[in-house]
Symmetry: C2
Subunit: 269 residues, 2 copies
């Protein structure tokens, strides 16, 4: 598709990149860089285009996540990572919410500055081993005891793959608490419009001058387009050929990988 | 309401009784009998009316459950208890299903005769402390690995109260697995029609000659009426005055407690 027309690549001033499946494939030892992606990130920076990573990662702080990427050859800073936890912190501050956290231990430092006394909401992330019977009952009791329960979920993924097998993702536990408390969670993370708007604000570019590049047809491509951005799907990561027949979402273009997208965008500059 | 007309009490040959909230209130030390209920059960037996208990209890075998009731003064046998696990066993046998069990340890003996090798379905009960991250991921992996995932849930309650606080019930975990696997669980237990039909078969009385007495407006009263039975709501257990304005379910009568219902039924014999 990339060959058929390059109109999509014009007047780009900033790029939003999904991480897992675009920069690297997750797997043994933390992940393996996708060929050409580290070089592509360097070329984006050298070109003067703005760059922001837009991820639903919630098992590490942005600092730790950026450190991990740097070790794989991606020269990005923590400030260049838009992730659900900082977006949730902004939302909590704006609305004067004091969270009870049910999240991964490694994510807790993101909430260091947030008042967590006498909680009036629950923030749910991919808590992994912290998803115990006791912790789930505790979060439930707090919610059901609130006059108006507020449940904030960092993403709504169904499951993901780790080296030792598939794991239930945060979305499954979100559904359990939604049902028990008869509430609807507020999802922070892709594909929420407010999350893409935060990423754009951090990118510093209006939507019509930004382009999202991701491997997830719904959460990356569909979400970004709903925000007025252009969006490409890469044929790496979780991409499947059947995505090209998706009934609702049509990317502005398909590219084989990040390197090809960057080639075309730089040629059109 | 019981005063206004007793047409509902005519031509009764068998009674189906909910247990928690009708015979006893759950709480410290296993529960406290509701005043007059043990005597009412004795009077039903003495009258020659048929009697069957119809419960969603899944934390004990019928034998242990009947023993507990006997200790509280209710003279009932295990055969007089219709509960989800035996109903699930019938369903498993009929369809040649081999379950992976995620249930309470004390319920496992109910499935002793069932072939559980090479599972082709998951049976979910109120597993309580067995609802661990590892056990939930295991059940999920088995389901998602099936060509056509079959999830059987013993009830779909949202939560219940124990002496140390509210607990998430099986329905919440059912919703988590439903979402993760994109399947719909088959619910065994009240208010499923097939479950009431099993209870009627065990009672040995056709629906038009049976009456259900329960404290749950939807699961007891609504479920039984959908089966062609009459149904009373007692004003004990989880009954709330607002139940009398339920938008969809209208009991055939309200009674203050089981003893009052039995008084009226016996007078109409």
């Amino acid at each position: 598709m990339a060959e058929r027309g390059r109109g999509w690549a014009r007047a780009v001033r900033g790029l939003l990149l999904d991480v897992s499946g675009v920069l690297y494939d997750s797997g043994a030892g933390g992940g393996v860089p996708i060929a050409g992606s580290a070089e592509a990130v360097r070329r984006i920076k050298a070109s003067g285009l703005k760059l922001q990573l837009c991820t639903n990662e919630t098992q590490a702080t942005r600092e730790d996540f950026a450190r991990k990427l740097w070790a794989m050859g991606f020269e990005v800073s923590a400030a260049q990572v838009t992730a659900p936890a900082p977006a949730a912190c902004r939302l909590l501050r704006e609305r004067g919410l004091r969270p009870h956290l049910l999240v991964h231990d490694d994510l807790v430092p993101e909430f260091a500055e947030i008042n967590k006394t006498n909680p009036n909401c629950v923030v749910l992330g991919d808590a992994a081993e912290n998803f115990t019977y006791a912790n789930l009952n505790e979060a439930f009791r707090l919610l059901i005891g609130m006059e108006k329960p507020v449940l904030i979920s960092l993403g709504k993924g169904r499951y993901y793959k780790e080296t030792d097998g598939l794991k239930l993702d945060v979305g499954a536990y979100m559904k359990a608490l939604e049902y028990a408390c008869d509430v609807q969670a507020e999802v922070v993370g892709k594909p929420a419009k407010s999350f893409f708007e935060s990423a754009l604000a951090e990118l510093g570019v209006p939507p019509e001058q930004a382009i999202m590049i991701g491997d997830d047809i719904v959460n990356d491509v569909g979400g970004a387009q709903q925000c007025g951005m252009r969006a490409l799907q890469v044929r790496t990561g979780k991409y499947r050929p059947s995505d090209e027949n998706h009934p609702e979402v049509k990317p502005d273009a398909y590219v084989n990988n990040l390197a090809e997208a960057v080639d075309i965008i730089l040629q059109e500059l």
